[in-house]
Amino acid sequence: MDSLYLAWRYLCFYKVRSFILIGCITVIAALPLALEILVNESERQLSLRAESTPLLIGAKGSALDLVMNSLYFSDASPEPITMAAVDQILESDLASPIPLLIRYRSRTFPIVGTTLDYLDFRQLEIKSGNPFSLLGQCLVGAEIARQLDLGPGDHLTSSPEAMFDIAGVYPLKMRISGVLAETNSADDRAVFVDIRTAWIISGLGHGHTDLAKSTDESVILKREAGQVTANAKLMQYNEITEDNIDRFHLHGDPVTFPITAVLALPHDEKSGTILQGRYLDQDSNYQIVTPAKVVDSLLANIFRIRNVLDAVILMVGTATLMALVLVFSLSLRLRSKEMETIFKIGSSRATISRLLGAEITIIGCLSGLLCLIIMLLLNHYDVELVRRLFI
């Protein structure tokens, strides 16, 4: 008996119907499994980074936005605080502060303004080149380097915050000093610059020709008491080079300059507790959070949503299975003439059952195979997928 052969011919002849059946079963089988893999990977990635970050200080507001921006470089920028927050921690001698300014982007990649301490804290290794040591230099994550085919000596330009703001800050062309080794974390998709470079990107600092020595009078608005004021014709540099680095300067007191958060690394557990206590004051403009707790609370919400999703998938799965049973029973009715012929030629009813069984087996096997392929692909790309989709 060639039940499998006949079943295969039947499925091949009615390709669209078979494809839809196989697709439905595959989706219904793969959906909960895929959800499980992705949620588990999200949990792993979120928890891992959160647990390795002891304390985070930022402006009062959404703790989740603060954590997501500071740890995973999400778009949601928290309200800025000033560098005074860093000095405050230094003065307390309870922890080592690492300032973060994560607001600007180069293409779609976040620019992380920080200090070299960040590299030590995250144990980031430099795969090629050197860390940023001068203004205008940047260190790119492994994925950016791979995706844009960049290496030390190449350039990346910061994106203007508002494309049509012609009075806004000019984009800064940054020289890549090095490329980080892959970490399978948000650091792979970030551009790291010195905090002062980030301030220059924000417009708090700039570089231009020395007006005192300028011979071009058309750029001078007025000269009085040793102070020279330029007009809008004065060209600002949009790249920091060895030749013009000395002409770059920041305007104002750095203590008042903005940052989005401070990573606080307590010297010990007791120092951490004391430090947290100091930010409990209701009148304080700052909040101090333990990223692991914020992420745990986020995960609890995700699990609640997942339970709802599981129930929805279960209901959709049941409905789909019922629809499949209906499809098969209707198909049997449509094939009654064929069954009658087979029976008259000399087959038993069991043969007809075997034929249907073979069709269901093939559909089940192909769906299972497809599901397996999807799961293997998902398992292989889950780290990347979760990072792109959820974090």
Partner: protein
């Protein structure tokens, strides 16, 4: 070849009754069964094929008493001894012509599909003029071609008896003659018995004998 004695049959609904006191068909004989609709012609074929079991009487086909046989042995007997030709061809639409001809070998363990059988299928297809259409599906064939494929399928297991139920009913006059030619030629070569239900009186002259179900008289055709 076929011997029916005092056969009585009634469907469970009780609406239809058939009584055949005596009927026999010799081996190699070509017999036409005629009669008005509902007179029991198709029921006769189903009884002879062992699809239906008589309420009373005996049916002996090629030495086998079908009325005493089990369902399984009747099915085995049917697939190895009888070839069926249907008015609506009964081809499987998702199989191509060659697979349709080989179909009986794929649905039962009583027949084994071997290389010589495949060769014979090709020869039959050539004999009946459908060898150029082996990879086509039934929907792409003309009615005449479909019936020729159905004849190939019926003849492939080399049956002793062919039962044809209105085999030319769906065909135009030219095709009727062609199909009958093909059927007669194929059955004559193998000395196969043919029991054919038909409404087509133009074709009756070609049969050895006519069984009229109207009054259940056995008539000899007039010599032409």
């Amino acid at each position: 070849m076929i011997r029916l004695s005092d056969v009585r049959f009634c469907y469970p609904t009780g609406e239809f009754r058939l009584a055949i006191p005596e009927m026999s068909v010799a081996a190699g004989e070509k017999v036409a069964v005629i009669g008005p609709s509902g007179s029991g012609k198709t029921t006769l074929l189903n009884l002879v094929a062992g699809i239906l079991a008589p309420d009373n009487g005996s049916i002996n086909i090629a030495g086998t008493d079908l009325d005493r046989a089990t369902d399984q042995s009747r099915r085995d007997f049917r697939i190895t001894t009888i070839g069926f030709i249907f008015q609506d061809f009964g081809l499987i639409d998702y199989l191509d012509v060659l697979d349709n001809i080989l179909h009986p070998y794929r649905i039962t363990s009583s027949l084994t599909l071997t290389a010589p059988i495949r060769q014979r299928a090709l020869e039959l297809a050539e004999q009946l003029g459908v060898d150029a259409r082996l990879k086509h599906h039934p929907a792409t064939l003309s009615h005449g071609e479909r019936q020729r494929v159905a004849i190939c399928r019926a003849l492939l297991p080399d049956p002793k008896l062919i039962l044809a139920d209105e085999a030319t009913g769906n065909l135009d006059p030219d095709n009727k003659q062609l199909i009958l030619d093909a059927l007669f030629e194929a059955t004559s070569t193998n000395h196969t018995t043919l029991l054919a239900v038909t409404h087509d009186h133009e074709l009756l002259g070609r049969f050895d004998r006519i069984v009229d179900f109207r009054d259940f008289l056995v008539n000899e055709p007039e010599a032409s």
